[in-house]
């Protein structure tokens, strides 16, 4: 395995939700969401009506991956912030702890300066949460299969077949 699986627990999930909520309020943003570098949506806060969150997540990750590739081509380690300016809405994208992507969507009720400032603070919180999460997952990894509440240890062929029964 190139990188270990990402595992999310209740406690850290709540911390992340809290951080995102604060960021949304403090930065006056419309939507704040967090995506894994591989395009999996982790958490979201804000008014998602009319927004396809899954597509948003995968395109954001694609965008960051392509920009990352560009950075390496010119000898940069990464471009840690991306900003897309639209007529109405803007998107601010930043990397947190080198493995998750924080996306803030805002309009003219906020400003790039404010968003940058608040994102910086939220990033530090998120970094701590993810550090804690990684440690927990690491400790769990060795015995995940043995934990009696692991849902995967006992997956049967029938379980898998039933997914395709329709």
């Amino acid at each position: 395995m190139a990188s270990p699986d990402l595992v999310m627990y209740e406690e850290e999930y709540q911390q992340i939700q809290d951080t995102l909520q604060r960021l949304q309020v403090d930065s006056n943003a419309k939507i704040v969401f967090l995506v894994d570098k591989n395009g999996q949506q982790i958490a979201v806060h804000g008014d998602m009506r009319g927004v396809d969150a899954t597509s948003l997540a995968s395109l954001t990750a694609g965008n960051v991956a392509a920009t990352d590739g560009l950075a390496k081509l010119i000898g940069e380690k990464e471009f840690s912030i991306l900003f897309h300016e639209g007529e109405r809405d803007n998107i601010h994208i930043s990397l947190v702890a080198q493995r998750v992507i924080l996306v803030v969507i805002f309009d003219d009720r906020s400003s790039l300066g404010l968003v940058r400032l608040r994102v910086k603070k939220a990033s530090q919180e998120l970094e701590r949460t993810f550090e804690q999460l990684m440690k927990k997952a690491e400790a769990d990894r060795g015995n995940l299969a043995n934990r009696f509440d692991s849902p995967f240890a006992e997956i049967t062929d029938e379980d898998i077949d039933s997914l395709f029964s329709e």
């Binding site: 190139a2 597509s55 995968s58 990352d68 898998i160």
Partner: protein, 194 residues
């Protein structure tokens, strides 16, 4: 890289369709999209050129229902098959859980198949994976074409490790769901071992 969310009780897995240009990767996804009921799927996103050649990737999120109380979501991606898009292909392989190699059955495309398979092997290694160990399924597409090479012959040239292999005609859906099911099964079985 599977994403296991205990808080939301979800498993998210990433499957990539790989293969030479015009072999039918996007057609596979299109068929799955057309035949899946609306509640189980998201939007099919295609980042393609004006002539419908995949430029960066196609993406289709798919909910397969529950396993042991966990919602299983599969994210299906295709890579751009054309040789010069190699940099994009590498990016899409990041964090992959399962790979489907779609081979073009036409005799004239056999060399392109072999080249693409070598390219997959190389790009997986660069991301720290091994074709030998990753969940992997092979599909011989376009079996309906008159110039199709015999399946035996293709198997000898392309089958890498005895992986599950399917004959398909993606434009009419033959073999498309069998292929998807096989790779999903391998990915979920892999979760058991962790």
């Amino acid at each position: 890289m599977t994403f296991i969310n205990y808080a939301a009780r979800e498993i998210n897995c990433k499957i990539v369709y790989y293969g030479p240009g015009l072999c039918g990767k996007t057609t596979n996804l299109q068929w799955i999209y057309d035949k899946t009921n609306p509640q189980a799927k998201g939007k099919l996103i295609s980042l393609a050129t004006e002539t419908d050649r995949t430029l960066f990737f196609d993406f289709l999120p798919l909910d397969l229902g529950q396993v042991r109380g966990f919602k299983t979501r599969f994210h299906l991606y295709t890579v751009p098959g054309q040789v010069f898009y190699d940099a994009s292909r590498k990016l899409i392989l990041k964090g992959v859980d399962g790979v489907v190699f779609v081979a073009d059955s036409q005799e004239a495309r056999m060399e392109a198949n072999v080249e693409s398979l070598q390219n997959l092997d190389k790009n997986l290694k660069e991301q720290g994976y091994e074709l030998k160990t990753i969940s992997y399924v092979l599909q011989f597409n376009k079996r309906d074409l008159p110039s199709a090479v015999s399946a035996d012959n293709m198997y000898r040239q392309l089958n890498f490790k005895g992986e599950p292999t399917f004959e398909a005609v993606a434009v009419n859906g033959t073999g498309v769901f069998d292929t998807l099911k096989a790779v999903a099964k391998l990915v979920l079985t892999e979760l058991k071992k962790k």
